[in-house]
């Protein structure tokens, strides 16, 4: 008995020492959120014209294909500007069909005669605004996914200004701002395209351009800039990715990024690689060919991107590929540090009030339960220490919603102790000696406490899995708190009872 108690005591002391070590110093180990500590304030502009340009190019290509399929003659489709196309020498005898196609598939576009058999095909201004707005919304979603992947808790991401193309991002903390900025800004437009010619040091050395190919720069092994001539249409794009992760290439022992495709992309990729065995495929990232491997055999749903990456670069590239491409490039316009969004004044008064409340609770427990109350106080304080230690260990971000979870934990911790003590008193009233009353009391409330905490834990797990931002912050502290609650109330408090009573042969009264 005594040996077991001593062993438990040593284990507890080790736990406390470990926690203190993890937490110390709190200023450096605890990650506080934007609301409690402040962070970095970034304003960026989305180049929404990028998205309009992509749409214009895609439309030119698809419209030409559509006319070809209907066997309607035209000379060429020229891009005049953003959302402005000219169809040269259109077969006007079949204008009706063309108009029907436009009405059916391109309702946001206007077809007008430009004279001499040429027709202008323009994106309506109202439609262009919609495209630009969607671009900003998509960019915000992508940024949110990337910031989430970075493990940053509860950022502020919203629109800014009245020009409709600015995004405001606030991130908590000041660590690694440069990396966060780079990850947010990376366009991460991945495309796999068939190589038609190259690489050549000079664009002039490549065959003349036509509407189905373009030249893309690449860095040659010598370090010079060269060019590949590749198909304009990509076989696979970032949208076909299912997952991406950093890995090491066994042959060259250099970092690379492995990716996998989802079902539809995989079947297209198999057809594409199967039809082009022996040819080169350029891996194009943000309009730069990072490598151009030869297709050895048909490839299914796996692939890898090799390039001149460091491990960190490969990790970040995998992250942005997982989070998806930005629909347009970004430009930072403003970067400032900001103070806590709750305001330094509120935090001061909040901390004071919380400490006063906690002190009041602990004093009352000692006053009401006398010496036994000390058990509860030790259990509650240890509970808080475990919570803070776990937050520091997992580098989880503490925010006000997280503190709400802490408050619930403390409430339930108080409840667990009150339940135990009231039950012990109840048992003593029936005439049981203290030692028996303690043992019966603890075993009676065991399932009450487990059920109460498990119910909340189940809910917290779901909130963590499916919630976002503040919901997750709440779930994290609550889950940690509930587990340590059961531990401190059932194990630690019991241990102290056993320890205090172990020295005495007969216990007549209990200070409770």
């Amino acid at each position: 008995m005594a040996r077991r108690l001593r062993l438990k005591g040593v284990l507890l002391l080790l736990l406390v020492a470990g926690l203190v070590y993890v937490v110390n110093p709190p200023r450096d180990t605890l990650v506080l959120g934007l609301d409690l500590q402040g962070g970095i304030h970034l304003v960026m502009r989305v180049h929404t014209e990028d998205a309009v340009r992509v749409l214009t190019d895609e439309t030119a290509e698809q419209f030409a294909e559509n006319l070809d399929n209907q066997e309607i003659d035209f000379a060429d489709i020229e891009t005049e500007g953003l959302g402005q196309l000219t169809i040269l020498n259109l077969d006007e005898s079949r204008l009706r069909e063309v108009r029907d196609t436009v009405a059916f598939s391109w309702p946001g576009w206007d077809l007008r005669s430009a004279g001499g058999g040429d027709w202008s095909f323009n994106l309506r201004p109202s439609e262009e605004i919609v495209v630009r707005e969607q671009t900003v919304t998509q960019a915000m979603e992508t940024i949110r996914r990337r910031v989430d992947e970075l493990g940053v808790a509860e950022p502020v991401i919203t629109t800014h200004g009245n020009t409709g193309d600015q995004i405001l991002v606030q991130l908590p903390g000041y660590e690694d701002v440069a990396r966060a900025k780079e990850i947010i800004q990376a366009t991460a437009q991945l495309e796999l395209r068939l190589v038609q010619a190259g690489p050549a040091l000079d664009e002039a050395a490549l065959p003349p351009l036509n509407s189905s190919v373009e030249n893309i720069p690449t860095e040659l092994p010598t370090g010079a800039i060269g060019y590949y001539q590749v198909n304009r249409v990509a076989a696979i794009t970032g949208r076909d990715l299912r997952n991406a992760r950093q890995a090491i290439d066994f042959q060259t022992n250099t970092p690379n990024v492995e990716f996998s495709l989802h079902a539809e992309g995989a079947s297209r990729f198999r057809d594409f690689t199967g039809a082009n065995v022996g040819r080169q495929m350029a891996i194009v990232l943000d309009d730069l060919a990072v490598s151009a491997p030869v297709i050895q055999s048909p490839i299914y749903d796996q692939g890898q991107i090799t390039g001149n990456f460091t491990v960190d670069e490969a990790v970040d590239l995998a992250l942005v590929l997982r989070a998806g491409a930005l629909p347009a490039s970004l430009e930072y316009q403003e970067e400032r540090t900001v103070g806590p969004s709750l305001g330094a004044d509120s935090i001061r008064s909040g901390v004071t009030a919380s400490l006063a409340g906690l002190a009041g609770v602990l004093l009352f427990i000692i006053f009401y339960y006398r010496l036994s109350g000390m058990n509860a106080v030790v259990a509650l304080l240890l509970n808080l220490l475990i919570l803070v230690g776990a937050m520091a260990y997992f580098a989880a971000t503490l925010t006000l919603p997280g503190i709400a979870g802490v408050i619930l934990t403390i409430g339930m911790g108080v409840d667990a102790n009150v339940l135990i003590f009231e039950r012990i008193k109840e048992e003593m009233r029936t005439g049981k000696p203290p030692r028996t009353a303690i043992s019966v009391g603890f075993s009676r409330v065991f399932w009450t406490i487990v059920d109460a905490n498990m119910t909340s834990l189940v809910a917290a797990a779901i909130l963590f899995q499916f919630g976002t931002g503040p919901v997750q912050g709440f779930a994290v502290t609550l889950s940690i708190g509930l587990v340590s609650n059961v531990f401190t109330a059932m194990f630690v408090s019991r241990y102290i009872f056993d320890l205090v009573l172990s020295g005495r042969r007969q216990v007549a009264a209990l200070s409770i």
Partner: protein, 329 residues
């Protein structure tokens, strides 16, 4: 020391009174929400105005907040901006209501609203309470919580509630899961009514406080249910109504102590926590009251009622039990 003697209150007898009280609060809340054109959502959920003000000397955030609060912007976010020696403060407030902008339509109304809001704030700041104003800039900012985030939060909460129902139903009996869940929904609605009646705004932090309330309420309910479960094995002769009464009375000391202590903690936050945390701590305080009340007044009667509908013993339970059984076992 004991805070309460043994009680023999016949809680179940008052169940219609309880239902009446809850219903009255809910109706009052609904009317209040209708009268005020819906619940008030804070800056987290709506478009707002952002003013960056530069002062001649380092401004005190709480003085700036006092000035902004006097204008009626309860949920303003006020942060220091840029390096400390720049003496700048960033103030975010929600967009002025439509009627304040004179009802002009479309984009112009927004911009007029932004300008007017910014001008009001800057005029008040020039009043000097927070120091001499040097320069300022104004921008529109969007809501922090968009539609997608709102949808995900809602789904996660509903799924979590459902999981609780399943767990309690599994560990006790299905009807107990229903009782606890209905009680939790009752608590959220009643507290929402109180939030509206007391004119508080809903922010992300207030929603976190609501989740705390749910957790607290469920915990409290489970303690009573657990005692019912235990007593049903001990007193096989007693009908369920008597057992529920007995269990509530047996756990009453614990209920009063736990709720009192939790109230002490969150009450301190409400009293001394300052303006920004007021709505948050109000929901916590209300949650302790409502969550405790609903375990006795809503969750237990529902279990009983369900049993009576299924087993046909409701009337007999009432008649057979003129007084509550003794507490001592």
């Amino acid at each position: 020391m004991d805070i309460l003697g043994d009680t023999r209150i016949d809680w179940i007898k008052y169940r219609w009174w309880f239902a009446g009280i809850s219903l009255a609060l809910l109706v009052a809340g609904v009317f209040d929400v209708i009268r005020k054109d819906g619940l008030r959502y804070g800056i987290d959920f709506s478009e707002g105005t952002m003013v960056v003000a530069k002062f001649a000397e380092a401004p005190e955030i709480d003085e700036v907040r006092a000035v902004v609060n006097d204008l009626g912007y309860g949920s303003a976010v006020i942060q220091s901006y840029d390096r400390p020696e720049m003496n700048q403060v960033m103030i975010r407030v929600e967009k002025a209501a439509e009627d304040e902008t004179g009802g002009a339509a479309g984009q112009q109304s927004t911009e007029a609203g932004i300008d007017e809001t910014a001008n009001r704030i800057l005029a008040a700041l020039r009043g000097g309470a927070a120091g001499e104003l040097v320069s300022s800039s104004t921008e529109i900012v969007g809501p922090v919580v968009g539609e997608e985030l709102r949808r995900r939060a809602r789904n996660a909460t509903l799924m979590a509630l459902f999981a609780m129902l399943i767990y309690i139903g599994f560990r006790f009996e299905p009807v107990y899961g229903v009782g606890a869940t209905v009680a939790v929904i009752h608590d959220v609605l009643v507290t929402l009514a109180l939030v509206s009646l007391f004119n508080y705004e809903i922010s992300l932090n207030v929603i976190a406080a609501f989740m705390t309330l749910v957790g607290y309420s469920v915990n409290d309910t489970i303690v009573i249910f657990d005692r019912v479960r235990e007593n049903r094995h001990i007193h096989r002769r007693l009908d369920l109504g008597a057992i529920v009464n007995l269990s509530i009375n047996q756990t009453l000391r614990r209920t009063v102590l736990t709720s009192g202590l939790t109230l002490l903690a969150v009450g301190a936050l409400l009293t001394w926590g300052g303006e920004v945390l007021r709505a948050f701590s109000f929901v916590l305080v209300a949650g302790v009251f409502v969550g405790t009340y609903s375990s006795i007044a809503i969750a237990s009667p529902i279990v009983l009622w369900w049993r009576s509908v299924r087993g046909g013993t409701a009337a007999t339970a009432e008649q057979q039990r003129p007084q509550a059984p003794p507490v001592r076992v």
